[in-house]
C-alpha cells in the first residue's frame, strides 16, 4: 500500500492534526511502510474466525446503578483549562 501526499493530507484532516511541510514527506513514506508491513495479515486464513474484541472472554461490562455519585468539582477541573468564563469553556466563535 503506497499512500500519496493527498491521502496523508486527508488522514491528517480526519485526525485534526496540522502536519508541517517538513513533516509531510516523512509521513507519506513511513505510513506507507507501516501499511505495507501490516499487509502480511491478509495472508492469514480467517474465514470462520470470530474477531476478538476483548482479551478476557466472557467478561460482561458491568453497569452501575443510575444514581448520582459524583460531587460538583467543576472549578477544580476547569483550573486546567486555557480559557473559561462563568463556568464555561471558551472556544473560538462557531456560529457567525
Amino acid at each position: 500500500m503506497t499512500l500519496t501526499r493527498r491521502d496523508v493530507e486527508n488522514i491528517a484532516h480526519l485526525a485534526r492534526l496540522q502536519i508541517t511541510e517538513a513533516e509531510m514527506p516523512v509521513y507519506v513514506s513511513s505510513l506507507s511502510a507501516i501499511l505495507a508491513f501490516v499487509e502480511q495479515l491478509s495472508g492469514a486464513a480467517t474465514d470462520d474466525v470470530v474477531p476478538m474484541a476483548h482479551p478476557l472472554e466472557g467478561q460482561v461490562q458491568r453497569l452501575r446503578v443510575d444514581a448520582v455519585t459524583e460531587s460538583d468539582d467543576r472549578d477544580v477541573y476547569q483550573a486546567n483549562a486555557a480559557a473559561v468564563e462563568a463556568g464555561l469553556y471558551l472556544v473560538p466563535k462557531v456560529i457567525e
Binding site: L41, M52, Q59, Y89, P92
Partner: protein
C-alpha cells in the same frame, strides 16, 4: 551494605526493625536522584516535599506498630498515573501543563500501603515507543551504558530502579512497555493479567491492551507491590472482580513438576546469539530444578506485531481525540476558528511518533478500510489467542527471550519505525491475549542485561512470581548493579 543495595522488601523489613527511619531512607534516595538525574533523565518531576511528608507519616505509623511490608518504602510512579496536585505529563508537550485534579487508583492504593512518593518518571510520549526517545522531556539513558536506550515506554521507571535511585517503580505495558525496559536494564518487570489492576487515572493509550504493573529489583518486590496495587475497582469498567491472592505468600512454591513450554517461534532469525544462549541456559536451569520442558509452536504468533500495529493505533486514535485544547492540556495561540484550534493544538502538542500512530489508526478505521485492516486484525488476534490457549492445555507457563537483543544505541532506530516496532516482537503476544507475563534478568551480554520472559494463563500471577523467585534464589543476576551506580 549501602542503603540502596536493599530491595524494597528488605527496606520494609529494616524499617519495621527500626534499623533506620523512612525519612533517612527517603533522603538517601532523594540525594541519589539529585546526583544521577542530570545524566539519566529518569525523572520528570521529583516530589521532594511530598516525599518527606509521606516519610514522616510512615515513620509515625511504624512507631505505633501499624502499617505493612511497604510502609515507608519509597517509590516512583510512571508519569502516566494521575497524581493530585502534581504535574502528570505522560511524556508529552500536550500535557506538559497538566496538574491532575485526582489520584489514579494505583497511586491511591500504594499511598494507602504507606509508600513514599519520590516523583514521576520519564516515559515515551503517551507510552508510544520502545526506547524512551519519543518523550517531550528528552531521552532517558540506560544506567548500564548511557549511550544506550533503557527501553520503553516505561524507560524512566526502569532506569530509576536499575540505577537504584528508586527502590521500585510503577509502569504500564501495552505491547511490552514494562517487560522490554525491564529486560534492557536488568530488572524484574511484571505485567499482570488484563483487568487485574485498575486503570482509573492511568492515561489511556490502547484500551484493549493497556495494563499497569511493576518494575522491581526482585520477584519478591514485584509480588508485594502488585499485591498492593491489584484488585477490583468500580471506577474502571474493565476491572475484574476476582480476589487477589497473597502473592508474597505464594513465592516459595517449588519449580519441581512445573511444565514449561519453549516458544519455538521466539528462537528464529533476529534473535541475537548471546541473548538466545542466556535464555536457553536459564530454561535448562529450570529443567535441572525439576521442571518438565517441551518445545511448542504457536504458529500465528509471528503475526503479533502487524496485528498490534493495527489494533493499538486504532484505539490510540480514538483515545487521543480527547486532546482538543479546550478542557485541559496544551492550546495553540490565537486560533482562527474551532478546526484551527484542534489542528494546531494537536499538531503542536503531539510529537512525531504519536502523530504517526494517530494517523495510522485514523486510516485503518476510516470508511472503506475497516474490514481490511481493523476487522482482519481482530480476527488474527483471535488466532493468536487460540494458539496460547492450546499451548496452556499442555504446559503451565511459556518461556522465551523478552527482547531480540540487549539495549541498542540511542538514535540507532529512530529513523525507521518498523525496525523500532520489531523490538516488541516477543512481548506483544501476551498483550493481545491479555496474559500476565514477567521478564527476569538472566545474564549479561557485553556488559548489558538480557531477560528471560515467562508468560502464563490468565490470572496465573502467583505461578509466574514463584517461577521468577525460584530463578532468583538460584542466581544473582537481579542483584547486579550497573557499575557506575553501585
Amino acid at each position: 551494605m549501602s542503603l540502596h543495595h536493599a530491595t524494597a522488601a528488605e527496606i520494609g523489613r529494616r524499617l519495621r526493625a527500626r534499623e533506620y527511619s523512612s525519612v533517612e531512607v527517603t533522603l538517601h534516595f532523594l540525594d541519589r536522584i539529585e546526583k544521577a538525574n542530570t545524566l539519566l533523565n529518569a525523572f520528570v518531576t521529583v516530589t521532594r516535599d511530598r516525599a518527606l511528608e509521606d516519610a514522616r507519616t510512615a515513620d509515625a505509623r511504624i512507631a505505633k506498630g501499624e502499617g505493612g511490608p511497604l510502609t515507608g518504602v519509597p517509590l516512583a510512579h510512571k508519569d502516566i498515573f494521575c497524581t493530585t496536585g502534581i504535574l502528570t505529563s505522560c511524556g508529552s508537550r500536550m500535557l506538559s501543563n497538566f496538574v491532575s485534579p485526582y489520584d489514579a487508583t494505583v497511586v491511591e492504593r500504594l499511598a494507602a500501603a504507606g509508600m513514599v512518593l519520590l516523583g514521576k518518571t520519564n516515559m515515551d510520549e503517551f507510552a508510544m515507543g520502545s526506547s524512551n526517545e519519543t518523550s517531550w522531556f528528552g531521552p532517558v539513558k540506560n544506567p548500564w551504558d548511557p549511550s544506550k536506550v533503557p527501553g520503553g515506554s516505561s524507560g524512566g521507571s526502569a532506569a530509576a530502579v536499575a540505577a537504584r535511585i528508586a527502590p521500585v517503580a510503577t509502569g504500564t505495558d501495552t505491547g511490552g512497555s514494562i517487560r522490554q525496559p525491564g529486560a534492557l536494564t536488568g530488572l524484574t518487570g511484571f505485567k499482570p493479567t488484563y483487568g487485574r489492576v485498575s486503570r482509573y487515572g492511568m492515561i489511556a493509550f490502547a484500551s484493549s491492551l493497556d495494563q499497569a504493573g511493576v518494575l522491581a529489583q526482585s520477584a519478591e518486590d514485584a509480588a508485594l507491590v502488585l499485591g498492593a496495587m491489584a484488585g477490583f475497582d468500580a471506577r474502571d469498567s474493565t476491572s475484574v472482580d476476582t480476589p487477589v491472592p497473597d502473592y508474597a505468600a505464594g513465592l516459595e512454591r517449588p519449580v519441581k513438576g512445573l511444565r514449561i513450554g519453549i516458544i519455538r517461534e521466539f528462537f528464529g532469525d533476529g534473535l541475537e546469539a548471546g541473548t538466545g544462549a542466556a535464555v536457553r541456559a536459564a530454561i535448562d536451569a529450570f529443567h535441572v530444578q525439576g521442571a518438565k520442558v517441551v518445545e511448542l509452536s504457536l504458529p500465528n504468533l509471528p503475526l503479533s506485531v502487524p496485528t498490534y500495529y493495527v489494533v493499538a493505533p486504532a484505539e490510540c486514535s480514538s483515545n487521543l481525540s480527547r486532546y482538543d485544547g479546550v478542557r485541559f492540556g496544551h492550546r495553540c495561540k490565537d486560533p482562527r476558528d474551532l478546526v484551527d484550534l484542534y489542528r494546531r493544538t494537536r499538531g503542536e502538542g503531539f510529537g512525531a511518533e504519536v502523530k504517526r500512530r494517530i494517523m495510522t489508526g485514523t486510516y485503518v478505521l476510516s470508511a472503506g478500510y475497516y474490514d481490511a485492516y481493523y476487522l482482519k486484525a481482530q480476527k488474527v488476534r483471535s488466532l493468536i489467542n487460540a494458539d496460547f490457549k492450546r499451548a496452556f492445555e499442555e504446559v503451565d507457563v511459556l518461556m522465551g527471550p523478552t527482547t531480540p537483543t540487549p539495549a541498542f544505541a540511542i538514535g540507532a532506530k529512530t529513523g525507521d519505525p518498523i525496525t523500532m516496532y520489531l523490538n516488541d516482537i516477543y512481548t506483544i503476544g501476551a498483550n493481545l491475549a491479555g496474559l500476565p507475563a514477567v521478564s527476569v534478568p538472566c545474564g549479561l551480554v557485553d556488559g548489558l542485561p538480557v531477560g528471560l520472559q515467562v508468560i502464563g494463563p490468565h490470572f496465573s500471577e502467583e505461578r509466574l512470581l514463584a517461577a521468577a523467585h525460584a530463578w532468583q534464589r538460584a542466581t544473582d543476576w537481579h542483584r547486579r548493579l550497573p557499575p557506575a551506580f553501585a
